[in-house]
């Protein structure tokens, strides 16, 4: 774009010989532009032609993520006006924001929901880019920068969760430190570097505040600029056509031909859907903030208050679940290597799959991968919300034995039902659908285990059950097992040892009203 360096050049051209003097606005704009050279430097990028077939709702997620980022910056700066990043006052300042600072609750809500939307939209953007083959030649660098942006955003999500300095944040940091401690040789140094000291305390919060507010946002903004520059310089990925293969020799030329033949300017035509969707995203975030509100803070981050049930934010639930479900011998190796391997696979994707078919219609492997990853994340995330591996800490006192299980019981069996409650068996075993899910439900336990097997299991434990031999008196074990042997529903017969005669003499005297072996 060439223009004479005249102050009134643009205005003159626009008015094409009209005699009316340029408006004040135009003159101010021209005055600025003569110095800033905006039209010269940026206008070509703004109106640069893009393939018409990218005008699709599938192409709005990147810009929507950027909208979230801008919103996060705005709300984050507002929160920083009030929030105190000191361990002894952070929690109080969050409460102040919630209940005393006018509209503090709303801005906290916007920031919280903005972060959720940002991670979600970024993930959709990533999947879209992957399925559309947009990472292939010549957009490898765009993909690489995008991968780092993904990590930065997750880093913001984790450090942001620490800013909500409550019990979840405190014990979440503990989990992070414990994972870092598993690194051989440098484990302890890593822990101290992360915590900024020997324990999770004042210096830890300050450290994470600096990361959340200065370091990661700085990197994020710089890389977003680079990401956008690359999109403009290399051109947005065209709508992939099945069978139109990417080759290093011809792709760039073909792309330019496509843009020339069937292109339209990015602004205003190309950006239409982005504008609409971005606006809807802001409205959705504001609606969530207004109607659902901010998250937490939960209890005060006092490590001596141990009646707590720490859970990470939504995005880290799959990781939380994986750490509960991995066999112990795999845990440390996977904590140390899995992130590196996964990152290497993702970062290097355009280097081992940089050319060829782009269309999702001819890449079944891409479908399998995406579906698998989301199935895994979905199942782990869902398990994380219910966490069946955790004992239900209050079931022993809060979930009584269903009355139908103790109707017409002998005194010994009633005593056994009491032992079952009092010894916290219910924290891991459910009855009538209530109680922990760590161990199997006991409703039909007598159909699976004989009396002798029950005694052995109670005393010696095994299969993830602690041994209760030292913690129960012989009388308590006898009573407990007497109750457990009655737990076989209606018509189902109780389990019995095949080597023992069906009705031996002693069970005839011990059997309760429903306790016979059928």
């Amino acid at each position: 774009m060439t223009r004479e360096p005249s102050v009134h050049g643009a205005a003159e051209r626009r008015q094409q010989g009209e005699k009316a003097a340029p408006s004040a606005m135009t003159r101010v704009a021209d005055w600025i532009d003569f110095r800033l050279k905006f039209r010269e430097s940026f206008l070509p990028s703004i109106v640069h032609p893009i393939p018409r077939n990218t005008a699709s709702w599938w192409y709005v997620f990147g810009s929507a993520t950027l909208v979230c980022l801008i919103l996060q910056l705005a709300t984050g700066i507002c929160l920083a006006l009030v929030y105190v990043p000191a361990a002894d006052q952070a929690w109080q300042s969050l409460e102040y924001l919630n209940y005393q600072q006018p509209l503090g609750w709303f801005l906290r809500g916007m920031h919280y929901w903005g972060s959720n939307f940002m991670v979600a939209l970024m993930t959709v953007h990533l999947v879209q880019v992957f399925m559309f083959g947009a990472y292939k030649y010549p957009r490898e660098l765009t993909w690489l920068v995008g991968c780092v942006l993904f990590l930065c955003t997750l880093g913001m999500a984790f450090t942001g969760q620490v800013m909500r300095f409550d019990q979840d944040a405190y014990w979440g940091l503990g989990i992070g430190a414990s994972m870092a401690a598993r690194f051989p040789l440098i484990g302890q140094q890593l822990v101290q570097l992360i915590l900024g000291g020997p324990i999770i305390a004042g210096e830890t919060l300050s450290r994470f505040f600096a990361l959340h507010v200065f370091v990661i946002p700085g990197v994020l903004l710089g890389l977003v600029g680079l990401h956008l520059l690359l999109v403009i310089k290399v051109g947005i990925n065209e709508w992939p056509m099945p069978g139109r293969l990417v080759t290093r020799e011809r792709y760039v030329e073909e792309y330019h031909q496509l843009v020339e033949r069937d292109g339209e300017p990015f602004v205003p035509q190309g950006i239409t859907r982005d504008v609409v969707f971005g606006g809807l995203v802001i409205l959705a975030i504001a609606a969530c903030a207004a109607f659902i509100g901010p998250k937490g803070p939960s209890g005060i981050p006092d490590p001596t208050l141990i009646e707590t049930n720490p859970r990470p934010d939504f995005w880290f639930l799959p990781l939380f679940s994986a750490l509960a479900l991995l066999p112990p011998y795999l845990e440390t190796p996977l904590i140390l290597t899995a992130p590196l391997v996964l990152m290497a696979l993702a970062f290097l994707l355009p280097f081992y799959s940089g050319t060829g078919e782009k269309s999702w219609k001819r890449r079944p492997g891409a479908w399998v991968l995406v579906i698998m990853v989301f199935l895994i994340l979905g199942v782990l995330g869902w398990l994380g919300t219910t966490s069946p591996w955790s004992p239900d800490m209050s079931a022993w006192s809060g979930a009584p034995v269903p009355v139908r299980y103790v109707k017409a019981s002998t005194p010994l069996e009633l005593q056994g039902a009491l032992v079952l409650q009092a010894k916290q068996c219910r924290n891991c075993h459910s009855l009538g659908g209530e109680g922990g899910e760590r161990g199997p439900a006991l409703d039909g336990v007598a159909t699976r285990l004989t009396r002798d097997q029950l005694i052995r299991q109670v005393i010696q434990g095994g299969g993830n059950m602690p041994a209760y031999g030292k913690n129960l008196s012989p009388a308590e074990v006898t009573a407990l097992v007497a109750f457990l042997t009655t737990l076989h529903p209606g018509e189902e017969p109780a389990a019995r040892d095949a080597q023992v005669p069906a009705v031996p003499d002693e069970t005839a005297t011990r059997a309760g009203p429903r306790g016979d072996a059928g």
Binding site: V191, L193, I199, P303
Partner: protein
């Protein structure tokens, strides 16, 4: 650009010499500034181990045959630590002079374990680790038993050696 240095081959001009000096000065300056910055950020590493004896309380707070929660203030704190400067631990007294002091942190990933006196078990709310009353692992993902503090009876008071978060890399 308009001005050209006369009488000298490119690469050996005064200006290129000055540029080399400038680069050298900046390399030295960068090194000099980097050292204190790295030292500052890694200040927490200078001390390899944070350990000190702290008073946990009079022995009569811990009746024989019971396991009770005790708290102390971490010996290494900054004034703005607030509540986070406090540390909790489980004290189990089996005989007049026989005690065990366990860190409250699960050996798996550090969550706070709770004591259930009826079943004589410690249970962790995060990933389901369970420990027996003597701190040994009973079930779940923990790779070892509870971390145990070194302790001492001084007069009629219980003292423990603490100061840092117990992890697999550095048990208390």
């Amino acid at each position: 650009m308009e001005r050209t240095t006369s009488g000298a081959a490119p690469g050996s001009t005064r200006r290129s010499f000055l540029l080399k000096i400038g680069i050298a000065i900046n390399v030295v300056a960068a090194a000099l500034v980097t050292v204190p910055i790295v030292g500052y950020v890694a200040a927490a590493l200078r001390k390899r181990s944070y350990q000190a004896w702290v008073r946990l309380g009079p022995l009569e707070q811990f009746p024989v045959g019971q396991t009770r929660l005790a708290t102390y203030e971490n010996p290494f704190i900054v004034p703005w630590d607030g509540e986070t400067g406090k540390v909790a631990c489980w004290v189990r007294r089996t005989a007049a002079s026989q005690l065990q002091v366990f860190a409250v942190n699960c050996a798996h990933l550090g969550c706070p374990v709770r004591w259930f006196p009826e079943s004589r078990l410690f249970m962790c709310p995060c990933h389901g680790g369970v420990y027996y009353e003597d701190g040994s692992r009973a079930s779940g993902p923990p790779p070892r038993g509870l971390f145990e503090y070194e302790h001492e009876i001084r007069g009629d008071e219980l003292w423990v050696r603490g100061g840092q978060i117990p992890t697999l890399a550095n048990p208390v």
